[in-house]
């Protein structure tokens, strides 16, 4: 038996509200399966389990706020027979043993003996997760919404309150605070170095236009996906930038999980990862990006996607800025900034012409790498974009 605990979804997270169980007691679960949804300052996140087993007991009711590490469910392993498990005399002291050896078979614990640090939501009003979130942001008293008997409050029912809110900035917005905390820590701890290179994007964009012309609208590749693909391929050659600074040591990550900065329409930013991008091609990179943006905007991200980024890519090209000098998100050690692609005079040999030009910037953590590594990265990225066929 082991415990499924509230995971930490970022260094800044202290607690989250369990919104929904996606499994019930007795269900088999497999490693990587999404089994619950929790609401954090980053929105609603789907959390995964990282072992195989059977859900023995759900310990926490939905709409309960739990601190990180609170046991949420007990997971029985296949080789454990349920009949042997119940031993009601189990004491709460056992709990500490569970924490030490999560995989050790253990007598089951009566849920009423567990006293996790939780606080129950004061009311059990039926309300959709999106509406709850909005109501929380607006500081609305759910009782004042007067739901009809047996009906679930939806976002649209918040009606006027939502409209009124659209133009106001909420100073104590949880996401804003989380970003502020992480970025302050980054600037205080990480000695950043910055490099920048102008890249002629005409060959890559011409190639992409030709490729898209042969495809249906559903299969078109956006320049953003092409650039992500180019960064991932470059990181295969310069792996030093893909990793972490942890426990005063530089760790290179085998998986390339680029966190993609995605702006939310209502303000705020999340950087969920495209996991294992090193195994993708251009088409699957585009599909993953499509899926990731869609789920980000629909508040359907998974825990692994917001915790396992090994580098960040920020592309503010759509907004028209030319250079992005990013702030590294610890424990990552680099952030790639891609600016707007603009028509610029471009000298090549004796010829001056107009080309599509993009500023690529790299911010690196000087404890882990030095400028030479960063320069090598930008140089390889540039070379790759001059020969875009290799990006397929």
């Amino acid at each position: 038996m082991s415990e499924f605990k509230m995971p930490s979804l970022g260094a800044d997270m202290e607690s989250a509200v369990l919104m929904q169980w996606l499994v019930k007691e007795g269900d088999p679960v497999t490693k990587g399966q999404v089994i619950a949804e929790v609401e954090t300052s980053k929105g609603v996140i789907e959390i995964e389990i990282f072992e195989d087993g059977i859900v023995d007991k759900l310990l926490i009711q939905t709409e309960t706020e739990c601190s990180v590490g609170t046991p949420l469910a007990l997971i029985r392993h296949d080789d454990e027979v349920k009949e042997e498990v119940p031993q009601k005399e189990a004491k709460t002291e056992k709990l500490s043993e569970v924490k030490e050896e999560p995989l050790a078979p253990l007598p089951s614990i009566q849920s009423d003996k567990i006293e996790p640090k939780v606080k129950m939501s004061e009311e059990r009003i039926k309300i959709s997760p999106a509406a709850r979130k909005k109501a929380h942001e607006l500081n609305l008293d759910l009782n004042s919404l007067e739901p009809k008997e047996g009906e679930v409050i939806q976002l649209k029912d918040l009606g006027k309150e939502v409209k009124r809110d659209t133009k106001t900035l909420t100073p104590d917005d949880g996401m804003r605070q989380a970003i502020a905390k992480a970025m302050s820590r980054s600037n205080a701890e990480i000695p950043h170095y910055y490099l920048s290179l102008s890249i002629n994007m005409t060959p890559a964009l011409t190639w992409l236009t030709q490729l898209n012309a042969t495809r249906s609208i559903k299969e078109r590749i956006l320049p953003a996906a092409l650039l992500i693909r180019a960064v991932v391929l470059t990181l295969k050659e310069v792996p030093e930038l893909n990793g972490f600074w942890q426990k005063n040591a530089h760790q290179i990550s085998k998986s390339i999980n680029p966190g993609i900065a995605i702006a939310l329409r209502k303000g705020g930013l999340v950087t969920p990862a495209i996991l294992d991008a090193q195994e993708m091609n251009l088409d699957t990179t585009m599909q993953s990006l499509d899926d990731l943006i869609t789920r980000t905007r629909a508040n359907k991200l998974r825990g692994s996607e917001i915790t396992q980024q090994s580098i960040t890519i920020t592309n503010l090209g759509d907004l028209g800025v030319q250079s992005v000098y990013g702030v590294i998100y610890p424990p990552q050690i680099a952030i790639v900034g891609l600016g707007r692609i603009i028509d610029s005079p471009w000298a090549e040999g004796d010829t001056l012409s107009v080309r599509k030009v993009m500023q690529a910037t790299l911010a690196g953590d000087h404890r882990a790498t030095d400028g030479r590594t960063g320069a090598l990265f930008l140089d390889k990225l540039n070379q790759l974009l001059q020969n875009p066929e290799a990006l397929l």
Binding site: T166, S216, I217, P223, A224, R265, L289, D318
Partner: protein, 80 residues
């Protein structure tokens, strides 16, 4: 299909992709992407959805012809 119906289809898709936009904010002569903060990803989603509804596919080369609501209506009504 009348121009009004095409207009309603377009507005419906914009609001589905960007639910926080007020319908009154979609002005006929404004650049859709810039005035409504719709990025290239959302824009592609809108064109994909309209392709399914109206069976008109906008090639990339024609993106400049569908930059405003007014231009979009004209573009689709010419091709339906």
């Amino acid at each position: 299909m009348t121009n009004e119906q095409i207009k309603q289809s377009i507005i419906k898709e914009i609001l589905r992709i960007a639910p926080d936009i007020d319908e009154d904010d979609i002005l006929p002569e404004e650049n859709i992407q810039r005035s409504l903060e719709i990025d290239s990803f959302d824009f592609l989603k809108i064109l994909t959805a309209l392709n399914e509804q109206l069976s008109v596919e906008v090639p990339e080369a024609d993106y400049s012809k569908v930059d405003t609501l007014e231009h979009m209506i004209a573009y689709f009504s010419d091709r339906i």
